[in-house]
Subunit: 263 residues, 2 copies
């Protein structure tokens, strides 16, 4: 069993009610990463809902999670012919940590016209240096992935380049777990905040994260780009694109977060 | 009283419970526009919540709305020191039309570092032709705004240019209603789908719309750009930026919608 599956396992207690134990392997400092916490809810939704793919999933972060026991309660909003909409609450010690609203569907079922006005955000892996840790950036979650940053992104993470708040590269699970739609909530929040290229580092509290899953990934490695263009008024957005190695966009993400702060 | 305020008025029946009547003046064909329907929920949240500004609001569209009576039920998720999170359901004849999850806060309260890597998406209004209707595009909602498209966008709407799915311009309410944070849910969905530049026209059903309000608008006119870069698998995203005349980004939006289809 792969580490991510072990650490996002939920057990069904009753219809709509799940429990599990949050790991400390996916944390930044003492706090489980927001994408990892979202994955715990997605693990419950995956079991509860008839539709296989999370088309759109929004999480509002109410309190920091902690490693340890949690419960997820799922409430069905509408089960339609093409889409299933549900809401879910993740709690720890009866305190609500995360509220989620999601619509699931079947990505293999529908077709239509194509218009794609973008290219994968990074060169092929073969043209980049091999995966290597970035000195000075090593939260627990960083050890769960092999990550290859494109050269400018690596310089931004090292504090050598401050031109813009953008990080792009390739990543995969260190244990080679295949990517699937259920891991994309994690991936959408797994990389360092790109805003660190233009500000002091600090805690960047996610208020809200939305992930659109657009295709089922077919490769172990995923290409990513995350960027922040609007940091002001104590808030920032972080936009993400995630592509698989076949050259297809598999997810888009956007989060609203607080500006980096100490402590 | 301005038309938008008349048509988004809700009456409080009980704590958390509101009712109103959806107008037919903000429709596309027989169906009230998705941004307008979101505004009805925002009118209830505005009355119910202590925090003044909708920082992040996500709506999942379950069924088409219809002009006529509706109810909104608001449930508080968490009232914190800085943020208030709530969920809301809009129903008509006891059928749920819209499920909303939102976090409100106070945009005037927080500050921090600034990094803005974008410019307003269109030239100043004075450099563009005056507002004029676009022949062939005239749903009811289009008559509620004065709209000035920049020249390429106008040609895309007229079916003369198919280079990309992007529409940019300026708009204001025809009756001069000042823009505020409560009208930005409407504005985020008020323009024709930019995908029409690259596909046949048709019904573009919104599955999910998220709006981040980043500043309180200070002008009657707002600049906008909406674009679709990824149309495939029967789905598309539509990203929006809305700026005020002082040159400040006031909102970002993203929706996931179905590809245009007939009927």
């Amino acid at each position: 069993m792969y580490q991510f599956d072990r650490d996002s396992h939920v057990r069904r207690l009753d219809p709509g009610l799940y429990e599990g134990t949050a790991s400390d392997l996916w944390s930044v400092g003492p706090v489980p990463n927001g994408g990892y916490v979202l994955s715990l809810v997605m693990a419950a939704l995956r079991q509860e809902l008839a539709s296989p793919d999370p088309l759109s999933i929004t999480a509002h972060y109410l309190r920091p999670a902690a490693p340890g026991p949690f419960a997820v309660a799922v409430e069905l909003v509408k089960a339609g012919r093409n889409y299933t909409t549900a809401t879910a609450r993740l709690t720890q010690n009866d305190r609500e940590i995360l509220r989620v609203l999601a619509t699931y569907g079947d990505l293999e079922k529908s077709t239509g016209p194509e218009h794609i006005a973008a290219k994968p955000p990074v060169p092929p892996r073969a043209e980049l240096p091999p995966a290597a840790p970035v000195p000075g950036f090593a939260p627990a979650i960083a050890h769960r992935f092999d990550t290859v940053y494109e050269p400018d992104s690596r310089r931004r993470l090292l504090g050598e380049l401050h031109d813009r708040a953008e990080l792009a590269g390739w990543l995969r699970f260190v244990d080679g777990r295949p990517m699937d739609v259920h891991s994309l909530g994690l991936i959408a929040d797994a990389v360092a905040p790109p805003v660190f290229a233009v500000t002091d580092r600090g805690w960047v509290p996610t208020l809200e994260l939305t992930v659109h899953v657009r295709a089922r990934p077919v490769s172990e490695w995923l290409a990513f780009v995350f960027r922040t263009r609007f940091l002001f008024g104590g808030l920032l957005e972080e936009d993400g694109e995630i592509w698989d190695e076949s050259g297809r966009l598999v997810a888009q993400s956007r989060q609203l977060a607080g500006a980096p702060r100490r402590g």
